[in-house]
Structure formats: structure tokens, C-alpha cells
């Protein structure tokens, strides 16, 4: 029958986000007691230091962290299945850097947060199209070629980002691009969250609605065809959904690596590879993971540690484990 164990794990992880978020509201340079936090939350109209810290500083940041982590992990899980390739993710495909170029252009032009969202999405779509085009041009398809193609696109987008920084006004624009690009949730406020919300909602809805077909697409192109799925129709839809999520996250916080690659694999260890369970669990785990990372980033030291530094230190050794798992015994590398 249906996988009841997976259901419990997914539900548990979603529920765990609530106490984790409450704990994160308490922690910080100005510690608050749980009682203070709860009473501040119960009286939203209140004022004073506690209300200021909770509503202006910590709550938007915590919500942002949860949404960004969930979005990146869900996008990673979807890309991996859609291309039947466990080695891809928003950052490895170049989508995150493409979205960063789009968002940086918007910042340079001095447009608002809505325009930044759109530009990030356009940049992400351009990057994923490029990453898919290269294997076709070479006339060779395989899991490693797509990953290498993502490396090429990432390099290109980083160069483009470098050019934008070179062109930016060093006094006003450059610092805001650099700060945002390092990957920080510190500047997230309610208005930028609201601007990102449509991308997140649409992306989550598309991917969750397609989760059963994602499972089938993960078994390979030929197999999805004989199962009655037309990849030419469904692949673009899934790419659009996953790219919306990536763009939404990047526009808020810059590129944060490794989450989209590693979290779906951790979810796989817990509930398997079926996207009906893997995708919701990736979403919950991604949110939880990012919340923990961001809380560490703002409490570990007096200054802020950029998030990509922490996710990189955790993500890279895990990626080696994933490689070992996928390539052991010449298993499924092509």
C-alpha cells in the first residue's frame, strides 16, 4: 500500500520547522526568552525592542531562510528527476548564476524588487537553455556531459557577473551587488518576501502537481514515453517551475550553493527516490536546513558569515558521498 512510513517522516519534518523557527526567533546577539517571543507574536501591534527585533529583524529573515531552502531543494529534486540525472542542481546547471546575472542587471538598472524577480527568472531560463543546448550541439548525451555543460554555463555567467560588477558604480551599486551575491538573508524584509511569493507559490504548485510524473521521468526518457508522458510538453513545464523557485531564491539572497544538490539525496536516504515522497520531504528538509544554517551564520561569530561558506563546507563532503554512491561499480553513469 501507500508508503505510510514516508508520510510520517514528511509530516514530522514539516512540524519540526515550527519549534525550530521559534528557537531561531529567540537566538541572536540580543537573546530573547521563549516567553517574550510568544507574547510578542500574540500581540502583533505591540512596540518596543522585542517587537522590533521579532517583526523587523528576525521573522522576515527566518521566513526567508525557510522559503529559500525549500525552494532550492525542491528545484534540485525536480531538475534531478526531470533530466534523469542525480548529479544536477540549480547551482551545478548554471541556473543559479544565470538568475544572479539577471538580478544584478535589475540592481544596476535600479529597478524595484518585482523587476528583479522577473529578470532573475529570465536569466535562469537562459542559463538552463544554454546548459541543455551544449550537449545537443556536441551531439553527445550523457550524465557527465550535462554536468560539464552546467560548469561551462556557470563559468560564463560568473564572467558576465564580473563584467556587471566592473561596470557598476563603485560607490552606490557595487556594494549592494557584492553583498547580495555572497548569499545572505540578512537584508530580506517583508516587502521583498512578498515580491518573491508569486514565484515560490507557482513553482511549488507546478512541481508538487507534477511529482508523480517526475518519478516516471527519472526512470529515463524512453520509459516516460512508453508510460504515456510526452517529455516535450512536461519537461518545459517542470523546468519553468524549478527555475521560478531558483530565481525567487536567488533574487532574495544571491547564490547559495549545494542545498539543491545535497538535500534531495538526504531525502532519498530517508524515503527513497519516488518524487511523490522525495519532493515534499526535500522541501521540508531544505527549509529546515537553511533555517539552521542561517541561524548559525548570525550567531556563530560577532559578524555575519556568508551562507555559501557554511553550505559549501557541509555540501562538498556530502557531494563526494553522492558521487561514490552513484558511480560505485560503474552503476548508472550513462
Amino acid at each position: 500500500m501507500h508508503n505510510r512510513r514516508a508520510g510520517w517522516i514528511i509530516g514530522g519534518c514539516f512540524l519540526l520547522i515550527v519549534p525550530a523557527a521559534l528557537l531561531a526567533l529567540c537566538l541572536g546577539r540580543y537573546p530573547l526568552s521563549l516567553g517574550t517571543v510568544l507574547s510578542t507574536l500574540r500581540h502583533p501591534a505591540g512596540s518596543g525592542i522585542a517587537a522590533n527585533i521579532v517583526y523587523v529583524l528576525r521573522l522576515p529573515r527566518i521566513l526567508g531562510a525557510i522559503l529559500i531552502g525549500a525552494a532550492l531543494a525542491a528545484a534540485g529534486s525536480a531538475y534531478q528527476r526531470c533530466f534523469s540525472n542525480p548529479l544536477v542542481s540549480p547551482d551545478l546547471l548554471g541556473v543559479a548564476n544565470g538568475a544572479a546575472v539577471g538580478a544584478a542587471i535589475a540592481i544596476l538598472l535600479g529597478r524595484g524588487t518585482w523587476f528583479t524577480q522577473l529578470a532573475a527568472f529570465a536569466g535562469g531560463v537562459a542559463a538552463v537553455c544554454l546548459a541543455l543546448l551544449i550537449p545537443r550541439l556536441i551531439g553527445h548525451r550523457g550524465k557527465l556531459i550535462l554536468v560539464l555543460s552546467g560548469v561551462v554555463v556557470t563559468g560564463f555567467m560568473q564572467a558576465a557577473l564580473g563584467l556587471l560588477k566592473y561596470l557598476a558604480d563603485p560607490d552606490s551599486q557595487l556594494p549592494s551587488i557584492v553583498y547580495w551575491q555572497l548569499g545572505s538573508i540578512a537584508k530580506v524584509d517583508f516587502s521583498s518576501l512578498i515580491a518573491a511569493l508569486p514565484s515560490f507559490v507557482l513553482g511549488f504548485v507546478i512541481l508538487l502537481a507534477e511529482r508523480w510524473h517526475l518519478t516516471i521521468m527519472a526512470t529515463g526518457m524512453a520509459n516516460s514515453r512508453t508510460s504515456g508522458i510526452n517529455p516535450r510538453v512536461e519537461q518545459p513545464l517542470i523546468i519553468a517551475g524549478a527555475t521560478l523557485l531558483t530565481a525567487g531564491a536567488v533574487a532574495l539572497s544571491g547564490t547559495i550553493g549545494w542545498v539543491g544538490l545535497v538535500i534531495p539525496h538526504i531525502a532519498r536516504l530517508l524515503v527513497g527516490d519516488d518524487a511523490r515522497y522525495n519532493l515534499p520531504l526535500s522541501l521540508a528538509l531544505g527549509g529546515l536546513f537553511m533555517l539552521v544554517i542561517d541561524t548559525l551564520a548570525r550567531t556563530l561569530s560577532a559578524g555575519e558569515i556568508p551562507l555559501s561558506i557554511l553550505t559549501g563546507f557541509i555540501g562538498t563532503p556530502l557531494f563526494i558521498l553522492i558521487l561514490a554512491r552513484n558511480f560505485a561499480g560503474g552503476g548508472s553513469h550513462d
Binding site: 540525472n85 511529482r211 508523480w212 516516471i216 514515453r225 512508453t226 508522458i229 519516488d274 552503476g331
Partner: protein, 260 residues
Amino acid sequence: MTDPVIAARRLAFAFPRQAPLFHDVSFTLAPGEILTLLGPNGVGKSTLLACLTGRLTASAGEVTVTGHPLHQITTRELARQLALVPQDYRSGADLTVEEFVLTGRAPYHLPFSGPSGEDYRLVSAELARLDLLPLAHRKLRQLSGGQAQLVAIARALVQHPRCLLLDEPMAALDLGRQQALLTLLLKLRQQGVAIIITTHLPNHALILGGQTGLFFPDGHFTVGASKQVMTSASLSTLYQTNLKVFFAAALGRWICEPTS
């Protein structure tokens, strides 16, 4: 005579900038008929199956499924008519046997929905029929080649196709399992399923009866009643080795063996 489930008319296929792999392949298959495809390696047996299931487009000729040209049928509708057991049945995903077999039910699911309790029941029944039930919760990649082959067959069968296409399904199976699969195919045929199967063992074609199609190395294709087209002479030409088709009294059926 009943309407054909699948028919090919003057089908040809060539990869870009290459000589045609085959040309002038025609056959008609009614419900409950079996077509066995024989031919040496690389003559295009799998390619023909790809053309029949719409994965590749033939360079000439036409495929019709239940009377409709292939290009007029949606992928979803086609998957309710045809099921393919591919030669490379390894899956890219790390699914359990049950999850993988469930993907065969996808043509019957509404968009944006998934398997129901009924689908799980069908899958369990099919796994039980193939003696695979104890493996239901094992990972696909932990199975032996033969077990995975049977799982791929189970996946095609839960699709409830009107025509089942099998690409060398016997290759990984032991002798006992080969016999069991032959019996299963004959039973499916009685239930009105049309079957197209490729194999390297002419004896399978003789056991299954029905029609046999021969892919000669020069791209020539012949099809007809198995007993008529499978002669010592035609099979010797087909495989470029001396073969003899004869009645084995001890078995009570015709068999094909090398003479040397």
C-alpha cells in the same frame, strides 16, 4: 476478421547519413496474434520496435495502431494500446520494485494525479503472477539481471496493453524462466493480446507459432506463418551459418539446431 491492433506498411528506416537499416517492412497483427522477429545483431530489430512505439520516426511508410496513424495518437493514448519491454531495462531512478512497476499505470492517471489503491492492488497481483512479490520492496538496482528483466515485464503488463512489444526478453533469463515466459505469452495471446517479440533463439519462434519476420543482413524483410518462413535454407542465410529445422519426435515439435 477482427481489426488489426497494429500494422506496418512499407516501413523503412535510416539513421542520418547512413544506408537504410531496413526497408519495405509490412505486417498486420490482429488481437491474439504473435509476431516473432528474428535476425542477426544490428539489423534493426530494436529500431523497428522504436518506430512502432513512436520513439523514432520511420523515414518512409506508415504505422497504424487500432487503425489510426501513429502521429495522430497522443502519447498517453498510445501508452494504453502499446507497452514495451525494452532491452535496456535499467532505470535511472533508485526506485523500489513496487514503485517502478507502478509507473506502468501512468497512462491511466489523470494529469497531476497519481496511483490509487486500486493501482497498488493491480501491481501486487502482477508481481505475484511473476513470483516477484517477495522482491516488492527491494531496490531495483539490487536485483539480478533476470529479476530486473521480469520486473520490466511486470511493468509492461500492468499497463494492460492491447499489444505487448518485447525486445529480447529472454536474454537475461534462465531456462526455467524462459519456459515460464513462453507459457505466459501463449496465455496472454489467448486473452487477445497481440504480441511482438524479438529473440535470438529460432526455437522460441517455433514454440510461439503465429507469424515470424526475418531480417536478412542485406536489409531484406520477410514475414509469414512461422512454419512456412522458417526453413533450413532461410535461417542458414539469415544467420550465415548452417542450421537445420527438423521435427524432433522426442519433443513432438519442430526445432532448429546448428548442423556442425
